[in-house]
Symmetry: C2
């Protein structure tokens, strides 16, 4: 019998998601999360930089996957095609965590503090994507604009996907959203 249960990080994440969902983010204390996970406040802060970050752990992984998708796209791809490839990669990631997406999204939407954190993650993602686009030869200003727009499209699609009772695959929703953008830009 080991002294410590395994997967402390995952237990903390589950406990946080549950408590934030039950009582709300602000009404939940870090000590309560830790207790529910069978740990202490101090240990919580060893795994997560702050009370918000527990909901965003893994966002670097999404960033890596979308950047990799841009890097791996065929040489013939247009800038918008590269964004499409990145969105396909995001689809894979979102479907992986499908079960948590809804509750997590609801919690974040309800708290300004968490929305702030989400926005800075989105900016970080857009910056990384812009770098990847530049490496693929997309011009500087266009790269930043395309990346930010791509992230905006992703959020729009995510919102639809997560609130859609039928739950069409994210990939399809995202592709539709991107096509809509294309029409808007053309029209």
């Amino acid at each position: 019998m080991s002294r410590w249960q395994p997967d402390a990080r995952a237990r903390l994440q589950e406990a946080a998601l549950a408590l934030y969902g039950e009582r709300g983010y602000e009404e939940t204390t870090v000590a309560e999360i830790a207790e529910r996970a069978g740990l202490t406040k101090r240990t919580f802060f060893r795994y997560f930089a702050d009370k918000r970050e527990v909901l965003f752990w893994g966002s670097e992984r999404l960033e890596q996957m979308m950047v990799a998708a841009i890097e791996a796209a065929p040489a013939s791809a247009s800038p918008l095609g590269l964004i499409g490839a990145a969105l396909d990669a995001a689809a894979v990631r979102f479907e992986e965590a499908r079960e948590f997406a809804g509750p997590r999204h609801k919690i974040i939407a309800a708290s300004p503090e968490l929305r702030e954190r989400e926005l800075i993650k989105a900016t970080s993602l857009a910056t990384a994507m812009a770098g990847a686009l530049r490496a693929r030869g997309v011009g500087g200003a266009a790269a930043a604009l395309a990346a930010h727009t791509g992230v905006t499209v992703m959020h729009v699609a995510f919102e639809q996907w997560v609130t859609d009772p039928g739950r069409a695959p994210f990939q399809q929703v995202a592709r539709d959203a991107l096509a809509e953008l294309r029409d808007l830009a053309a029209g």
Copy 2:
């Protein structure tokens, strides 16, 4: 002789700007800001919701001015023309506070916490502008996209303006940036 000096809010803002600039945001405590302004911590929090907000007071005013500019634009204006009108209004506001723009921008750029706050202000601004665009007949999704893009252009222009030693008027920098965007979208 009155018990209180006038303009407590302005004094707190000046003290905060000075201290954040001298020591950095995180290294400055609210008690220190209050003391420098001849007040107490408790009073600081009567004027500002938190330690960050002292740098963002007045952002509703910018929002109002940009929205008003969209509402007042000639009926013949295109969506991009409406964004241009909003940027002109922003120019008026920025030139008003020209002397503080540089230090303030530097402080915000140096602190993730402050960047988060700036991002949520930008989102709020974009949302308000999108509403004004819709009221002017711009279609729903296009309105949101145009508004967010407009705010992005504003930030790009601001960055150039604030770091430019020659300090061309913001209006001119913003118009150039908008023209660049137009070319990108067309090309």
